[in-house]
């Protein structure tokens, strides 16, 4: 059982996620693109790069189109970015070692983690719930929603809830995951941490990764093609 969840499944997840992403981007890249400029449009390659970056980091068009959705969506993504960066600490002790080398004490690191990680974990949950409520309550969104839309939100909420539970309820110790992942990458052991919240969080996270290449969540890859097109002169 340990081997199945702890080694086999993660391998499958890795292959499906990386392979899926490469496949999708490869396919998109190989298809012909017509000109479909939307004005006002950037005039040089450099300007166009800046516009696509503005879309990527600030969701510029969305801000003009729907400020409420922008607020919810943008904050969600910023929190997601923080959590993504923070997860490097989960896999290995190296990030913490670097922070220590930079002058942070273990207490400093814990506080940083609580504020940016724990804080993000709470704010992102609030965003997701608000986004789900919006999808259920706002007519023009509700009427176009499919099961996939709700599935994605519920999956994300479950992942966040179990993650938050690991931190706030079971006070999970990252030494356990450091040991597990080290054992995995050195092919020496499969020491899956014996924590219910962790296992659930881990499984759901992998489900998410497997789901991404085949779903709308892929928008984070797609926009480099679609947004870039309408900004091309």
């Amino acid at each position: 059982m340990n081997i199945l969840i702890g080694a086999v499944l993660p391998l499958i997840t890795l292959v499906v996620f990386v392979g899926g992403m490469i496949y999708r981007i490869y396919v998109w890249n190989s298809l012909p693109s017509p000109k479909m400029t939307l004005f006002p449009a950037p005039k040089s390659g450099r300007e166009r790069f800046v516009e696509v970056m503005k879309e990527t980091f600030f969701f510029k068009s969305l801000f003009k189109g729907d400020k409420t959705l922008w607020a919810l969506g943008w904050v969600f993504h910023v929190m997601l970015a923080l959590i993504f960066i923070g997860h490097f600490r989960v896999f290995s002790a190296i990030p913490d070692n670097i922070l220590a080398w930079m002058g942070l004490t273990p207490d400093n690191i814990d506080t940083l983690s609580l504020v940016t990680g724990g804080g993000a974990g709470v704010i992102i949950l609030a965003c997701l719930i608000a986004i789900l409520v919006r999808r259920l309550e706002v007519q023009r969104v509700r009427e176009i929603s499919t099961s996939g839309d709700y599935f994605a939100l519920i999956l994300l909420i479950a992942i966040i809830l179990t993650g938050d539970a690991m931190r706030f309820i079971s006070h999970f110790d990252l030494k356990d995951t450091h040991e597990y992942f080290y054992g995995l990458v050195t092919f020496s052991s499969v020491n899956l941490p014996d924590n219910g919240w962790f296992i659930t969080h881990y499984l759901l996270g992998q489900l998410l990764l497997i789901y991404i290449p085949f779903s709308k969540i892929l928008h984070f890859g797609g926009i480099f093609f679609t947004e870039a097109l309408v900004h091309k002169h």
Binding site: F39, L62, I144, I223
Partner: protein
């Protein structure tokens, strides 16, 4: 299910499945829509009536649903688990014909969508499939046919054209007391003026405006029109038929080559300019050409800035506003030029809001303004926001550089009993430009 209906289904499903082979945007739109609802909040049609079937994402789902259930893993899985059809039921083609001709192709959705999804592209694909089945609405079918046969969407003969031009020259003689020429079929001319046929036959002051511009600049014998090719309108864009669109365009390229001109001088027609400039020229449909594509408003605005003209603004005292045709504003970036012309020709020019690339569609875009079968829809739903915008300006004349917009706007004014005149941009110039010391003396001051 009869074999005829079976083959409609087959054709539709095959065509939609084929989207996986591109073009890229169409395929990406099938896979990337996050159903966030932003498109609906900026769509003029949805604004007019918040019904599910008018929601842009839902309309696109007519195609997307079929694509997903055949081409995506999750789609195929859901199909197998939950059963049901793949999204195209018997009789759906009628739904498609109705609904894909309820999108004005204005591209507002694309402007605000966080992913830049352009529902007008999906709409055009739907219409292309409908056209391949021979089921394009009759009005639109006829316009394309007539245009390919006669070179213009009104089916007017060269003789009719000549008499219209003669009439305009008489009008200008009455206005100014001198001869202002409109050359026709002049080989070796430099500028080939291609307006929408409406600007010759229905709202001709745009054409007299252009004629006066050339006259004042001393270029009266350097330009020409064509008695065969005097209508830039190209409905192959609206029916989704690339073959028709290119064939219609070819007539004009051939005529331009025959006349030996240097500048394809496009008139006040948004989609005509967009096809000629952004598609034909920019993507090189016909290889190297001996002429370049220019829009009349660019040309005139340029000269206004150089101080080439004098205007008697008192000829246009009423408050004037400008409606940005979607094709000029959003799709071609021609926004300042019409304003330069209007500001120079009119006493009281005022903006509507939002404007330029963010302006709202008149409600008759995508060829819809030619369809009187959906007049109620255009007057009450797709044109609702535009009516509100115009009223808010307090203008008594709304200028729109597009024949289709003008038709829609004029119908709106009549239907909603508004005493607001509708016309083009060069029309205002025609009324106030000074030739030999004075502007036009006009008897009929209506509209």
């Amino acid at each position: 299910m009869s074999s005829e209906k079976a083959s409609v289904r087959e054709a539709v499903v095959e065509s939609v499945k084929g989207i996986k082979n591109g073009p890229l945007p169409l395929r990406a739109y099938m896979e990337v829509c996050a159903k966030c609802g932003t498109c609906a909040s900026v769509c003029p049609v949805y604004y007019g009536s918040q019904e599910k079937y008018l929601n842009p994402a839902e309309r696109s789902d007519l195609i997307r649903r079929i694509y997903k259930s055949h081409n995506t893993l999750s789609g195929r899985l859901v199909q197998r688990l939950l059963g049901g059809e793949d999204g195209f039921k018997e009789g759906d083609i009628d739904k498609w014909i109705k609904e894909f001709y309820e999108c004005t192709g204005c591209r507002r959705c694309a402007t605000y969508c966080p992913f830049g999804i352009d529902n007008s592209v999906i709409t055009r694909k739907g219409r292309a499939i409908i056209d391949s089945l021979g089921m394009t609405p009759d009005t639109m079918k006829k316009v394309v046919q007539v245009s390919l046969e006669t070179g213009n969407t009104d089916g007017a003969s060269p003789a009719a054209f000549h008499s219209a031009i003669d009439f305009l020259m008489e009008e200008m003689k009455d206005e100014h007391g001198i001869d202002i020429n409109i050359p026709v079929d002049m080989e070796g001319a430099e500028y080939f003026y291609v307006p929408p046929s409406g600007d010759v036959l229905v709202n001709p002051e745009a054409t007299t405006g252009v004629a006066k511009v050339f006259h004042v600049l001393g270029l009266g014998d350097k330009w020409t029109m064509s008695s065969k090719c005097f209508d830039g309108a190209n409905y192959g864009l609206f029916t989704g038929n690339d073959g028709d669109m290119k064939a219609d365009n070819k007539l004009y390229i051939d005529e331009a080559k025959r006349l030996g001109i240097k500048v394809m001088f496009m008139g006040e027609c948004g989609h005509a300019y967009r096809i000629m400039k952004m598609m034909m020229e920019k993507t090189g449909w016909w290889g190297e050409l001996p002429f370049e594509v220019v829009n009349c408003m660019e040309f005139t605005a340029d000269h206004i800035k150089k101080g080439s003209f004098e205007f008697d603004k008192s000829k246009n005292p009423m408050p004037v506003t400008y409606h940005d045709p979607c094709n000029f504003g959003r799709s071609c970036g021609i926004t300042e030029e019409p304003r330069v012309i209007l500001q120079a020709s009119c006493q009281d020019f005022r903006e509507m809001y939002p404007n330029r690339g963010e302006n709202w569609c008149c409600g008759g875009g995508g060829g819809l303004s030619a369809m009187d079968s959906i007049l109620d829809f255009r007057m009450n739903i797709s044109g609702k926001k535009k009516m509100e915008q115009i009223r808010e300006t307090g203008a008594k004349y709304v200028a729109a550089a597009c024949s289709n917009c003008k038709r829609q706007l004029m119908q709106l004014m009549e239907y909603h009993e508004e005493d607001i005149a509708v016309g083009g941009v060069h029309d205002m110039l025609s009324r106030s430009i000074m030739i030999e010391g004075k502007a036009a003396e006009r008897e009929d001051l209506t509209g």
